[in-house]
């Protein structure tokens, strides 16, 4: 993200007020924490023509989360939330793997593509259903998506017949576990999805429309934005992202597990969005922030492993991060802790961090 060019005295101020400043700072701090424990943390080495290293594996293992979180960002930007993504991950993986496992030749490209198509279509149908309930029936998003969250894993287990379906397909393995141009292939998939999303939301008016729907759905409808259609599209997009993540997860393990695939990923994704500075109330969003938020979560997990803290405390750390990030974002908390001065400047601008920097940012893009 380009820092807006401003005159020298306020450059530091502009930097610290950039909406990505805090997420990036947290990410860098977390990465640095690793250095005393693993001195070659930033080292990247080449083995068998593949790049290896902690940084690469953070991005590799974080790929599904980034995808889901990017989709979730747009849903949250419209003032909604999508709890069903974990179940959609499981359904997509289950459908794709069960189709591939039925084939005589699991390496046939056409079959693999067809299987992926089936999985992704199912994901989009889930999104359509969510969007229909939210936009057409007017049901609160958290409740509407709860339905697929509860039933979806049952459906996934139904598809896999309660078993963990394992497959042995080389082309399919590429998406989640393969390498291309020395880098994990999933990084390219993520980069493509993020690039398309950014292009669609920042180069076209779509992003503005999404933000206006999230800001005030009724007002945006009155000025002529088809807010219902936007909402449905956003839920479908979110489910598509979750579907791709589902392909990635099942491809990486070469197995579909209806019960555990993508378990709790919706919570991690929401967390990534929040860390990235997008307000859960809807309105302004930041795809870049979300990507960094997802990387922060993945780095946190990796850090816990490398530092040698027992892995079971992972969840306690995560809880601490959720609390700290949310407290810092809460205007009321800042007012209480940092005193009355902070209260005056932050209280009126509700989503303080994005609101300060966003107007400049839109000009620069």
């Amino acid at each position: 993200m380009s820092t807006p060019a401003v005159t020298t005295p306020s450059r530091w101020r502009a930097l610290t007020h950039h909406h990505l400043f805090w997420p990036v700072a947290v990410l860098i701090a977390l990465l640095l924490v690793n250095v005393p424990f693993t001195p070659d943390f930033f080292a990247i080495r080449m083995t068998d023509g593949h790049l290896y290293g902690s940084l690469v594996s953070i991005v590799l293992f974080g790929s599904p989360l980034i995808l889901v979180a990017v989709g979730m960002t747009l849903v949250i930007a419209t003032g909604g939330i999508d709890l069903s993504v974990g179940a959609v991950v499981a359904i997509t993986g289950a459908l794709t793997c069960s189709y591939i496992s039925d084939q005589a030749d699991q390496n046939a490209l056409s079959a693999v593509f067809l299987a992926m198509g089936i999985g992704l279509v199912a994901a989009v149908v889930c999104g359509l259903w969510n969007g229909f309930l939210v936009a057409r029936m007017g049901i609160q998003p958290i409740i509407a998506t709860l339905i697929i969250m509860v039933a979806g894993r049952g459906v996934a287990q139904l598809i896999t017949d309660g078993q963990i379906i394992t497959i042995n397909s080389e082309p399919y393995k590429l998406i989640g576990g393969g390498y291309w141009l020395t880098l994990p292939f999933s990084i390219f998939v993520v980069a493509a999805v993020v690039a398309v999303t950014v292009a669609l939301t920042r180069r076209t008016a779509l992003g503005l429309l999404v933000e206006s729907v999230g800001g005030n759905a009724e007002a945006s409808r009155l000025v002529g934005i088809r807010s219902r259609r936007i909402k449905i599209m956003v839920y479908m997009f979110c489910a598509l992202c979750a579907g791709i993540a589902g392909l990635m997860i099942s491809s990486n393990t070469s197995a579909a597990d209806g019960n555990n695939a993508g378990l709790w990923i919706e919570l991690d994704a929401i967390l990534a969005v929040v860390i990235g500075g997008t307000s859960l109330l809807g309105g302004r969003f930041s795809i870049g922030g979300t990507v960094i938020g997802a990387l922060v979560i993945q780095t946190l997990t990796t850090t816990i492993y490398t530092i040698g803290v027992p892995t079971q405390t992972n969840l306690v750390f995560k809880a601490a991060v959720v609390i700290v990030v949310c407290l810092l974002q809460s205007p009321k908390f800042r007012a209480k802790v940092f005193g009355a001065k902070g209260a005056r400047t932050t209280a009126p601008a509700e989503p303080a961090t994005p609101a300060d920097a966003a107007p400049k940012m839109e000009v620069s893009r």
């Binding site: 939330i81 309930l133 029936m137 007017g138 049901i139 609160q140 958290i142 409740i143 509407a144 709860l146 339905i147 697929i148 969250m149 509860v150 039933a151 979806g152 894993r153 049952g154 459906v155 287990q157 139904l158 309660g162 209806g258 919570l267 929401i270 967390l271 929040v274 859960l280 027992p310 079971q312 405390t313 992972n314 969840l315 306690v316 750390f317 995560k318 809880a319 601490a320 959720v322 609390i323 949310c326 407290l327 974002q329 809460s330 205007p331 009321k332 908390f333 209480k336």
Partner: protein
């Protein structure tokens, strides 16, 4: 149980047969008791369906019905706690992990530390209530969405489970096993201690929500927080109290679960918050808050329990059908609620 159902369906019949034919359906749809009636009717229909299908397998025995209470005692207690929160317009995602944590905590204290059970029980309840209090405090004082705060609670308690021990701890304490095996005879069949505790909790919640000032406040805040504030209701105190109640109920549910399973496991009750929320919604409580009955929650739990026992009796159906059936029911009841609120607005 079936007596109340009958009177309620009779009341439904009266409302429907009132003179103004055109608005009769509208009035029925606007009746706040409708979801509870539908749930009760559904329960009855499912039970009769089960009777006609599995009569020869002993489905009609009273003990099968009483087993619904025994096997779902912990869910009932957790769902009653969730009812308070949802009634106030909030949500509590930490229920399942708090249950898991309580089983782990008590098992660890009783088995590894050798504390007497009678000391551990109040301790566990206190920890649960304090956890709920903390979450309520943060939700109210820092104005962070309940969803996020209780999500942090979910992570925290599940993490604490694993910190205590990665493996499950089985409980061989004699008090626990004797309590777990105690059965109270009711003439037709018998109930476990857990089921009785659950019914007492239900009765207490019924009294608190419908006959005390605190209950009124919960409804008022769920109905419209702004209005409640303008009326001078103690918003913060009530909100914090609601989450404390939920935390207490979750801990109690954890104790019942521990009694039922006789072990502590870090993965006990994963996702049970969804079951609890589903039971509350199927029981007709509006997820937006402010409307519903705690008796509806009982029917919600019974319907979920009945699905499980029907699947058991069917024998060929697999367990994941429970999830699918729960989801379908959830969907149906959400749509009913939506139709009702749409009517109210116009």
């Amino acid at each position: 149980m079936s007596a109340t159902t009958k009177t309620r369906t009779a009341a439904e019949g009266r409302t429907a047969s009132k003179p103004a034919q055109a608005s009769a359906a509208a009035r029925l749809l606007g009746d706040r008791r409708l979801p509870v009636l539908v749930t009760a009717g559904l329960f009855l229909a499912m039970y009769i369906g089960g009777l006609s299908r599995y009569q020869n397998y002993g489905f009609g025995e009273p003990q099968v019905f009483l087993n619904l209470f025994i096997d779902n005692s912990y869910l009932l207690v957790a769902a009653v706690g969730a009812t308070f929160v949802i009634m106030s317009g909030g949500i509590d995602l930490s229920v399942g992990s708090l249950i898991g944590f309580t089983t782990m905590f008590t098992a660890w204290l009783v088995e590894r530390q050798g504390l007497p059970l009678m000391l551990v029980i109040p301790l566990a309840l206190g920890v649960g209530a304090f956890g709920g209090f903390l979450m309520g405090y943060v939700i109210h004082n820092f104005e962070i969405q309940p969803f996020i705060v209780t999500l942090a609670g979910l992570f925290l308690f599940r993490g604490l489970c694993l910190v205590i021990s990665k493996e499950s701890i089985s409980i061989s304490d004699s008090t626990v096993s004797s309590m777990a095996q105690t059965r109270v005879s009711l003439g037709l069949g018998e109930l476990s201690i857990g089921a009785i505790v659950a019914l007492v909790v239900l009765a207490a919640a019924f009294y608190i929500l419908h006959y005390t000032r605190f209950g009124r406040r919960v409804y008022a805040i769920g109905g419209n927080e702004q209005s409640a504030l303008l009326m001078g209701l103690p918003l913060g105190g009530t909100k914090i109290a609601v989450y404390t109640v939920s935390g207490f109920c979750s801990a109690l549910a954890g104790l019942l679960f521990m009694l039922y399973i006789q072990s502590g496991d870090p993965l006990h009750a994963v996702g049970m918050e969804l079951d609890a929320i589903a039971a509350v919604v199927i029981g007709g409580t509006l997820l937006t808050g402010g409307s519903g009955y705690v008796l509806g929650t009982l029917f919600g739990v019974l319907v979920l329990g009945l699905i499980k026992s029907i699947i058991q009796f069917e024998g060929t159906l697999s367990s994941w059908w429970t999830k699918i059936a729960t989801g379908v029911l959830l969907c149906a009841f959400i749509l009913i609620q939506r139709a009702m609120t749409a009517r109210k607005q116009t």
